[in-house]
Amino acid sequence: MREVFYLATRYLSYHRVKTAILVTSITLIIYLPVGLRVLANQSRAELIARAKVTPLLLGAKGSPLELTLNSLYFESEVPDPMRYAEIARVDSSGLARPIPLYTRFRCRGFPIVGTTLDYFACRDLRLKSGRTLALLGECVVGWEVAHRLGITVGDHLVSSAENVFDLAGAYPLKMRVVGVLERSYTPDDRVIFTDLKTTWIIAGIGHGHQDLTNPATDTQALQKEGSTVVANSSLMQYNEVTPENIASFHFHGDPRDFPVTAAIVLPKDEKASTLLRGRYLSQKEPVQLVSPRELMHDLLATIFTVQSYLIAAVLIVGLATLATAILVFMLSLRLRRREISTMVKIGGSKGRISAILVSEIVAVLVLSVLLAGGLTLVTSHFGSAIIRSLILS
């Protein structure tokens, strides 16, 4: 058999362009449906896994899909905010425990998520180094954020300005990194977590500045009427929360009206979940309570319908390509009739000559299968990243 393979490989390597075209075509015939299937299965697992551990989501009325994708993956369009009072309402119902999320801001391309410590327990996130959130102006970063930005505990991150031309807008906040999370292989790896109140400071709802009641700041006061002091533009506003100025940070307005993007709602049991969902069915409700799991199933049903059409189309194209490949082999045999005839005349055995020709086909097929297998492995390895970049961004 060694001689057979030798002649087959000599033929294939001499006609390397023809071989490469054949191998590429057959590789694609095999890889496209298989790779698509792998990608589809991974996207199913990716989308479902996170939705599974998020029983319910509360958010402003609007696109439930947008709310779900933003709350689970922090990547899609930020939904309209809802009042913090809605979270308090769920909490006071006694039926579920809400975990607020405020995802409006970003920092160097990564989302800043304002939440509470319950989120870390809910998602089973563990610290790799440092400590968890304790004070205003602190943040804990996911593994990928730390890895890609080269950040360690003690470093600082500055939130991105929303609009550099808006002089009255919220100024970036310099946050101190107090912890780095262990890798979780979830979207949480790409998040900068901070306390909900810190995100409100970024939003400009809370701020810290020089104490205007102090006589030393009289030069910054424009007008003083009883307890009301109007400062002029020289008043120093802090863009970083430090031990020295933390006491000066305060919020204006009713916290019940403060914005949050969503809340993860953890019902006590199935009955509580049903009761709670019933309460938010009214058209008059300004908020919606959605089940990410059901939503993802609906989304996946649509995706997989499209996918099955796509695979069917790929299979048809694949069959056509396969037919072309067979035609190429047959034409090649025709063109090689003289060569085969020479081998027969010299005395080549029928079995050997057939084996040589079959080996060439087998070698092309094996090479194609190996390449398709390799591509499938690469797809399965980078599938999650591909899905995130294709579906969620």
Partner: protein, 231 residues
């Protein structure tokens, strides 16, 4: 000794048939086969080589009747005992010179590739003056060099019969002489029989015998004597 007895061959189209009642070739004999195109010279070589089967009669090689052998047996016989040389060389473009010479050992299990054999192929190539071309592809060679490669391929299994179908047909006079020198040298050294179809009457003087096919297909059984002046 090779003998043909009451040999008949009918072409599938039925328009032409070849009849050779009696013809013998002694071991070590060099024979030129001549005749106009279309008289069955190539068919004659194919019959002797067992490439095609006669409709009737016998083709005996040292007591072995080729017609009594099955197709696989005939192939095995041919690859071991008969060396074929063609006018168009019939080399494989995707093989190097050395691989072309070794080809018979790769296409039939009856012949086994050994390191000694490779050494002999190199030796043979050196003998015919193509040792520096062993790693080249055949399309990089001249016509004369290609025919020498084809001859090496034919001679490597040490055949007792060489069937050459117009081996000098595509060569210039200098290469014609060289090619015949190689073939005659082998015949002399190994005591092999050489049957060569040729249209080149200038070369006939080098052959021990000449068989003229111009009258063969017309149902004659005449074994022709050498023409005047031929040895």
């Amino acid at each position: 000794m090779i003998s043909l007895n009451e040999l008949e061959f009918h072409y599938p189209d039925g328009e032409f048939s070849l009849r050779i009642p009696d013809l013998k070739f002694e071991t070590g004999e060099s024979v030129a086969v001549i005749g106009p195109s279309g008289t069955g010279k190539t068919t004659f070589l194919n019959l002797i080589g067992g490439i095609v089967s006669a409709s009737a009669g016998k083709v005996m090689h040292d007591g072995t009747d080729l017609r009594s052998l099955s197709d696989p047996e005939r192939r095995a016989f041919r690859i071991r005992k008969i060396g074929l040389v063609f006018q168009e060389f019939e080399l494989l473009e995707y093989l190097t010179v050395l691989d072309n010479i070794l080809l018979p050992y790769r296409i039939h299990p009856a012949l086994r590739m050994t390191p000694a054999l490779k050494a002999r192929a190199v030796e043979l190539a050196a003998e015919v003056g193509i040792s520096h071309d062993l790693g080249r592809y055949v399309d990089q060679l001249s016509q004369g060099e290609r025919q020498r490669v084809a001859i090496c391929r034919a001679l490597l299994p040490r055949p007792s019969l060489i069937l050459a179908d117009e081996p000098t047909g595509n060569l210039d006079p200098r290469n014609k002489g060289k090619v015949l020198d190689i073939l005659f040298s082998y015949v002399e050294r190994e005591g092999a029989t050489l049957l060569t179809v040729t249209h080149d009457h200038d070369l006939l003087a080098r052959f021990a015998r000449v068989v003229d096919f111009s009258r063969f297909h017309a149902e004659t059984s005449e074994q022709l004597s050498p023409p005047d002046g031929a040895r």
